[in-house]
Subunit: 227 residues, 2 copies
């Protein structure tokens, strides 16, 4: 069985778990914690980061774009996650990149780093209490992204077009890492909420809703389909 070296709240790992489930590929999960990298992670991925996808023991794949495109090239006979003509595919990739670069830098990276990673890091590696001003700023930017999601779903069935795509999985993966802490102001964004509700209701999402990080219970509505 293929395996995925992942960290529970890492948005990129979460997206791959969603993608693999949508493609119908069972996978064995191997936990990795960013504050205590396992000795061989740098051999598997010179960047030292998760996720790492192992189709088999001899071929570790890393880099979110590389794994995403690899899965689409090899597993999409039943379900395509980068569907459509060349322009529709470009739109899927544009939005996937939007969440992986912009949302990650502005929202999910600061939230996960400040609320989780810093807490477990050794003090001499940057550990300690969260930088609350970084978190506050992330919460402000989150509102712009929720507006953008509402705008997109106003015109389209799914974020990138008529079909569910990698863009929805990437967006939901990033947002879910923030939603774990109950930090998403859903009541102010009903259209974004309704899209996220559809995402949360998919069978591929169920395992993510059962996740917990040691010593940090999720917010009360994290696993609720009716939040």
């Amino acid at each position: 069985m293929p395996s995925l070296i992942h960290f529970t709240l890492d948005p990129f790992s979460r997206r791959l778990r969603l993608s693999l489930a949508e493609y119908g590929v069972p996978v064995e999960l191997i936990d990795e914690e960013p504050w205590g990298p396992s000795p061989d992670i740098f051999e598997l991925n010179p960047a030292g980061t998760v996720p790492v996808y192992l189709e088999d023991a001899s071929t570790p794949l890393c880099g979110i774009e590389a794994i995403g495109e690899y899965l689409e090239e090899t597993k999409s006979s039943r379900v395509a996650l980068i569907p459509g003509d060349v322009f529709e595919r470009a739109e899927v990739r544009r939005l996937t990149g939007w969440f992986d670069s912009k949302f990650y830098a502005e929202v999910s990276e600061p939230v996960v780093t400040e609320k989780v990673i810093r807490r477990f890091l050794r003090r001499d590696k940057g550990g300690g209490g969260p930088d609350t001003s970084r978190v506050r700023q992330a919460m402000t930017r989150l509102r712009d992204h929720l507006d953008y999601i509402a705008h997109l779903t106003d015109h389209r069935a799914w974020l990138a077009g008529d079909e569910l795509s990698l863009a929805d999985l990437a967006a939901a993966a990033h947002i879910s890492a923030v939603d774990y802490f109950g930090d998403v102001p859903w009541t102010d964004y009903p259209a974004a909420k309704s899209w996220y509700q559809r995402m949360k209701s998919r069978p591929s999402f169920r395992p993510l809703l059962a996740d917990t990080v040691r010593g940090m219970a999720p917010g009360p509505h994290y696993a609720d389909l009716d939040f």
Copy 2:
């Protein structure tokens, strides 16, 4: 003719100019300056960033991964920039992602922001003198990346394998934006230098070597093939 909205020293714009030249696609360049976005840039790209590629006036494409994959899907009949089998293609995309995420965050973004963009930005938008500690830190990280390039070219003809690929273009594009300022310690990294020399000698690279940013002449060896 297709057109490309770009900024001279933006590494992503530079990579697309290299890619288009390697594919043999002529393109009209339209200048955009990050410190003074043109009024319609947000209509073309909601992220407000360059590059934007226009195959024709009606279909702006944005997002570096989206444009890169679009060009490979539509222009690679003569020359493929993501060549090989699924694993070789994954390696091209892993390294392209390495330079677009890691090298950009650690080196090319701080250098271009501090040395150029901040200088032209209005003071109330963050303009002013460069943050020299950010630049110094970028110079330290640059050495790790030159080591990595040397390590890769020790085992391979090009960065991702036996053939020139998007990974070489991405790496060279990011490095060239730093090399503009004469900031790359080439003499300490002969193997990386020899790879960059090969890149610089390609006809696709020539237009980049003629670039200048207003009021900032390039370093004395920037355009030199024998540096």
